[in-house]
């Protein structure tokens, strides 16, 4: 069941790969606009790099959230998923995993390349990659709660942002904090451990909350 959901969503994402690429390009362009706008001041760029990359990642991940359940809701396949003889928790986890593979993972993988534009040292680039690898699954997991709560609403895109962005703040603080710490030569372990803890907690609780919200949305 779990693997069927992941396989199905990856296949659908492949058929609509323009959507996936749009998220990635959005991230790349938003991050690249800052060095162009601010000019070649290495010190300043290096200072703002962690925040800029992380905020761009937050916004980019909002783009794909609207599609997580809305398409399945419209064509009735979400009903059919609810009526399968396995726990809904697993189905939600499968959908979030597929979402992360097509939207979170590519962002994390391309981030070191973007970090070079800001003159980040090598260590900081690796920490940036690590923090995004740990943080983007949390974004997808928390975002899935917002996506399920706003299902069927008319202005769901705006509602998701209002609901979810405040919940992203801890991820932003620890994610950007880890890269900051690495630039200034302080240990990064504390921030990365906290990100890992956030991932563990959201992995346990958010699919459960999302499943409950889906049941209510489909009543």
């Amino acid at each position: 069941m779990f693997s069927w959901i992941v396989w199905r969503d990856l296949k659908l994402a492949w058929r609509r790969r323009a959507d996936v690429l749009a998220t990635l390009f959005f991230f790349v362009i938003v991050v690249s606009l800052f060095p162009l706008g601010i000019g070649p001041e290495t010190q300043l760029l290096r200072k703002i790099a962690p925040g800029v990359v992380w905020v761009a990642a937050l916004l980019a991940s909002m783009l794909s959230l609207g599609r997580l359940f809305a398409n399945d809701y419209d064509d009735g396949t979400l009903e059919q998923i609810l009526l399968t003889p396995q726990p809904l928790y697993l189905a939600v986890l499968g959908k979030v995993l597929a979402l992360w593979i097509v939207s979170g993972l590519p962002l994390a993988l391309i981030s070191p390349v973007l970090g070079v534009q800001f003159g980040l040292p090598r260590n900081a680039l690796l920490v940036l990659l690590a923090s995004l690898l740990l943080g983007t699954p949390v974004l997808a997991l928390i975002g899935s709660i917002g996506a399920s709560l706003t299902l069927g609403l008319r202005s769901s895109g705006v509602m998701i942002s209002l609901l979810v962005l405040p919940l992203y703040i801890p991820v932003l603080i620890f994610g950007a904090g880890a890269v900051d710490a690495s630039i200034s030569g302080v240990g990064v372990q504390a921030s990365l451990s906290l990100l890992g803890a956030l991932l563990a907690v959201s992995l346990v609780f958010s699919p459960w909350a999302t499943a409950a919200a889906l049941r209510i949305s489909l009543e």
Binding site: R8, T77, Q80, I81, T84, E219
Partner: protein
């Protein structure tokens, strides 16, 4: 095999759609749900599915309330609603094999192809669902009933947009399902001339 509903009531918003709806369906029984638009036919079917909580009353499957059996109940029921439950980007073949996989049956390619052929979709198995006509999409969605082989069928207005040949074929499928000991609940205005072990009609008033 036994599906029971005891004194079901449905409230949507502040409107009461129906109350005191009761029935008992054993193996081979067919229940036709009728009523004017907005009388709660779809709500009743969604209630029997477990998608909608009844405002009052209870539904029992094999003697146990459906809330207490949880996901195991879904292993026994197949629901075809207004929305076809097909992914537009995927072909009928892929839609069918994914549905069967999600239901825990994982039918092979040949089995799916045979079923789609019997639904009159031969030669169109690999077209994306968005290129099919409305009736063909409905056929493709009904193929799910055959691949998952569940004992309880809940069919909501399934005859819409089907041509007369397909209507006949679907009635025959329901008949075969009933004579194999299945149960079917069908919401429709069509005359259901199907041989059933027991045939009940439920008229919802508006």
């Amino acid at each position: 095999m036994m599906l029971e509903a005891n004194a079901l009531g449905c409230v949507r918003g502040d409107r009461r759609l129906f109350s005191q709806v009761s029935f008992q369906l054993g193996a081979g029984s067919l229940l036709q749900v009728q009523g004017p638009n907005g009388s709660g036919k779809t709500s009743l079917l969604r209630m029997i599915c477990g998608l909608l909580q009844p405002a009052e009353g209870e539904i029992r499957w094999q003697g146990k309330t459906i809330q207490s059996i949880g996901e195991d109940y879904f292993a026994d029921l197949a629901y075809v609603g207004h929305r076809n439950g097909l992914k537009e980007e995927l072909s009928s073949m892929e839609n069918l094999s994914i549905s069967s996989g999600l239901a825990g049956f994982a039918a092979g390619r040949e089995e799916c192809a045979t079923i789609l052929q019997s639904m009159g979709l031969a030669g169109r198995e690999h077209l994306p669902a968005r290129l099919l006509s409305e009736g063909q999409r409905r056929r493709s969605s009904l193929a799910r009933l055959l691949v998952t082989r569940k004992p309880l069928w809940l069919l909501d207005e399934v005859f819409t947009s089907l041509d007369s040949a397909a209507v006949g074929m679907l009635k025959k499928l329901i008949g075969d399902h009933l004579s194999g000991g299945g149960i079917a609940v069908v919401a429709t205005h069509q005359e259901l001339d199907i041989r059933a072990g027991s045939f009940q009609r439920l008229e919802l008033a508006s």
